[in-house]
Amino acid sequence: MRALTWQAPNRLSVETLPDPGIVNPKDAILKVVMSSVCGSDLHLLDGYVPTMHPGDVLGHEFLGEVVETGAAVTGLKKGDRAIAISIIGCGECGYCSEGHFNCCDNSNPNGQQTELAYGYSCAGIFGYSHAFGGYAGSHATYVRVPYADVNLFKVPDGVSNEQAVFVSDAAPTGYFGADRADIQRGDTVAVWGCGGVGQMAIRSAYLLGAERVIAIDRFADRLRLAEEKAGAIPLDYTRTDVHEALLELTGGRGPDRCIDCVGMEAHGTGIEQVYDKAKQQLRLHTERGAALRQAIRACRKNGTVSVLGVYGGLLDKFPMGAIVNKALTLRSGQQAGQRYVPRLFEHIQKGELDPSYLLTHPMDLEQGPEGYHLFKQKAQNCMRAVFLP
């Protein structure tokens, strides 16, 4: 089969690899129909996530057709159109049993690396470095999906491929972040970052009862989509003082809930940006936290900050004082999408959610490196390049 592989920081290539097969009885093999790039891949590309090996297959947001199932798979059959959740759950451990699939104890065969870094082993993720399991990703003709009954979901009628593919990662991540933010009816929610996940977080905040959502970014096109497609009030932080604008828009109270959809390669302004970037390039810290710092400062007293953006290691100048003295709640996590898929498909069927506008650049898998280049540079207003193997 053909697959888009990581070779070195910012060097990708399409290679021919052996087709995957059933290894464990709960596996399924999917013939990939659509596989999307994701903002979190950029951290792998840029070399900020260690334990990537040359030849690793990227991609964790995908839709395909079931072509083979293991002996213990009961809920799927050959020919099913399905999406997979990017964070792998086993369905059996204590965490999965309680719906916290994102904290699965069993899905990571390389648990020792996250145990050493974070204290406990973390769940496996498709195409997301060896620390997160070393699973081959979905930018390929075929992909092996472990614990298929838990991680694969059949796409119901009335939901198109273009809509369904984002129920793999962007939509449930946005929804998870909004859910974790504990939004109450009438709340004002501020969302940092208007990429795919940010767009979904804005829409999800409304679905969960927010009255107003304010979206912060610097790309005019993304802000336009946040306004037109998701209904947010756009703020361009390169032109507007975000903190003052948030006060101005909320009668001086500040947003009730803040959602960070940016992560460790945030762009700030002025001296903060220069300082963060320099330290990151010297590997003195792994994260640039401008967006998160701003969110923590902007959040109203007793409010909630929900962190969806990916952070990998240590963040410098973390405003703990603001958290303590404003009695903030900080919540975070990789998505537990298995919990939300049925709900999200329902919203799509009812016309309350339509993620398909994220798909700006359908491309051939052979154009993979080019697709990532477009996405990284945000050229041609690229929101998501999606490969069609």
């Binding site: 052996p18 464990n24 104890d105 020792q112 690396q113």
Partner: protein
């Protein structure tokens, strides 16, 4: 050995032992003298060598003056290790321990472990365990370059659904013992397993110091092995990132529930 309330494996120092002087008598005098000589010589020498002597001399002097040496303390056996060495008349004992909670009943886990031939299904370092009699087992461990290490153990304690303890027979190349306890986790959330392995490092104190320095790797391995046990018991399979079915790697006949011994990130 009291397996029910043993000293914690993770307790590094005896009570009050973390700040007590640990350099005494001749050793302390030797530290002072060596430190003084090195410092004096270093100050008269030039270049990197001189600085190095000043540094080492300073450290030795501090060691002699304060009577405290953090490096020595870090390489001193833990209270449990001292107990085990004394009880078994070993020159020293090195312990390795991890705990894990598995969402299965105590009985099921006890029974699985009680059949020692199952251990090779999740312990990567163990090639196979042959059950010789109900209380004796023969272990074959994998060493680098295709070599193996073999020994026989006998069961020293067997409390169904609670505890299993074993000890190597006197002719073992490296004397060792181990025990595993099974306890109900709170709120019916399965079983807490605590596994402890102890062995007598070859080459006495030096061997112990070496084992202690390299402690992280075996501890991580032990944690990984217990996670594999958890995966096997909870999901019926061992997680793997391999994309092709494994070619048969083991000479022993495969057991019906072992599907794959997955690769790990440490190669």
């Amino acid at each position: 050995m009291n397996h029910d309330h043993p000293t914690l494996v993770s307790t590094r120092h005896p009570v009050g032992g973390s700040d007590q002087p640990n350099v005494q008598g001749l050793e302390r005098i030797a530290s002072l003298v060596t430190g003084g000589v090195l410092l004096g010589h270093g100050l008269r020498s030039s270049g990197l060598g001189g600085w190095l002597q000043v540094l080492l001399g300073g450290l030795a002097l501090a060691r002699g003056t304060t009577g405290r040496c953090p490096a020595k303390r870090a390489l001193t056996p833990t209270p449990l290790e001292s107990e085990l060495a004394e009880e078994n008349r070993w020159s020293s004992a090195k312990t390795l321990s991890r705990s894990i909670t598995i969402d299965k009943p105590r009985t099921e886990l006890y029974r699985f472990w009680r059949d020692f031939s199952n251990l090779s299904r999740f312990m990567t370092f163990i090639e196979r365990v042959e059950v010789l009699a109900s209380d004796r087992a023969h272990w074959v461990a994998r060493l680098p370059m295709g070599k193996t290490l073999e020994w026989t153990t006998r069961l020293t304690e067997d409390r169904p659904d609670e505890l299993l303890a074993w000890m190597s027979e006197p002719d073992a190349p490296i004397r060792n013992l181990g025990w595993v306890s099974f306890r109900d986790a709170p709120q019916g959330k399965g079983t807490e397993i605590k596994a402890v392995i102890a062995y007598e490092p070859p080459a006495g104190k030096l061997g112990y110091a070496l084992a202690q320095t390299l402690d992280l790797l075996p501890t991580m391995k032990a944690a990984q092995d217990l996670r594999r046990l958890k995966q096997l018991m909870e999901t019926g399979e061992i997680a793997t990132n391999s994309t092709r079915p494994a070619t048969v790697r083991r000479p022993v006949e495969p057991s019906p529930t072992v599907f794959h011994h997955g690769s790990t990130g440490v190669h």
